[in-house]
């Protein structure tokens, strides 16, 4: 039985739904947060994810960061040593999609060894009629960066767990690879 812990950052432009996604994942069955409050700085909570076909689990320490540049210095400090990245954009907002490479670069720069399991999330699928970023375009960019791609609606509570479960599995895989590496050295 292995219990891993990863600092998981939720990053992306302001108002894409980072806090909403983190909050529905935290409470699973609880409701979509109705009051829109701008995240200032960083909020943290912990959620344990079991890894299928094992007795292992990964505790995700979720950091919901503000996407506002004025908080960036504060946020950057909190991002040190992060173990997983949930990169979020809004499918109705192309600018937020274009910002993803910036967020990804910043997050990777803070990760130990520059290596960081990450997923791309296109949020607000309930507003599909106003979509400006095509699924295929997002998926292709994600693949080019080595990320898995998911679409969610935090509002309709659709698919909100999958990105986090995928991150937990990726972190667990990375751990098992490291164990094999260390064993091969001794």
């Amino acid at each position: 039985m292995v219990k891993l812990r990863a600092k998981c950052i939720v990053a992306g432009d302001p108002a894409v739904g980072k806090s909403a996604l983190a909050q529905v994942f935290r409470s699973e069955s609880a409701h979509f947060p109705k009051n829109y409050t701008l995240t200032t700085g960083v909020e943290v909570f912990v959620k344990s994810v079991s890894i299928p076909d094992t007795n292992d689990s990964v505790e995700l320490f979720l950091l919901d960061s503000s996407g506002k540049e004025i908080f960036y210095d504060m946020v950057a400090k909190q991002w040190e040593n992060s173990g997983a990245l949930c990169l979020v954009y809004d499918i109705t907002n192309e600018v937020s999609f274009n910002s993803c490479s910036k967020w990804l670069e910043r997050a990777r720069a803070q990760a130990p060894g520059g290596q960081l399991p990450a997923v791309l999330v296109g949020n607000k699928t309930d507003l599909a009629a106003r979509r400006t970023v095509e699924y295929k375009e997002a998926e292709e960019w994600a693949a080019s960066q080595g990320l898995e791609y998911f679409e969610t609606s935090a509002k309709e509570m659709e698919n909100y767990e999958t990105p986090f479960h995928s991150l937990a599995r990726a972190f667990h895989r990375m751990y098992e690879e490291r164990v094999e590496l260390v064993k091969s050295l001794v």
Binding site: R5, A6, A111, P112, G113, Y175, V179
Partner: protein, 138 residues
């Protein structure tokens, strides 16, 4: 009085371990093949406690992917009131263990706390710690 290994009788305390395959006891068994593996996030720490006060001349650690490391000492009966003894950024090593020695003069301790502040990877391992010195009541 010659230098000797004062590790005999020392105990390992307070290491958080998330993987029972690699428990912290691997640090003190004198064998680099057994190791303690951290299971995510920094800082990480472990404490070595001696049965009595010891005078430490040298501390040597075998580890992998450790970056920022500090060693602290406590003279108290219980592992509290630690004071910084030394601090170092280790060199990265790709395909063999890191080996780092810390020469000390006149450092007394009943407990040694090792704090790993950062790593070259998400996970680091500690394979062996040896402490040379004299038991203070020799």
């Amino acid at each position: 009085m010659g230098r000797r290994d004062v590790g005999a009788g020392a105990q390992l305390l307070l290491a958080a371990s998330g993987d029972e395959r690699f428990p912290p006891e691997g640090i003190l068994d004198g064998n680099t093949e057994t190791f303690w593996m951290t299971t995510g996030m920094f800082p990480q720490e472990f404490v070595i406690s001696f049965p009595d006060l010891v005078q430490i001349n040298n501390v040597k650690i075998h580890c992998f992917n450790v970056c920022g490391l500090s060693i602290e000492t406590s003279l108290a009966k219980d592992p509290v009131d630690f004071e910084l003894l030394c601090e170092k950024e280790l060199l990265r090593s790709e395909d063999q263990l890191q080996v780092q020695e810390f020469e000390q003069r006149e450092a007394s301790a009943r407990h040694l706390r090792f704090v790993i502040h950062s790593g070259f990877d998400h996970f680091v391992s500690v394979h062996k710690v040896s402490v040379e010195g004299e038991a203070a009541n020799d």
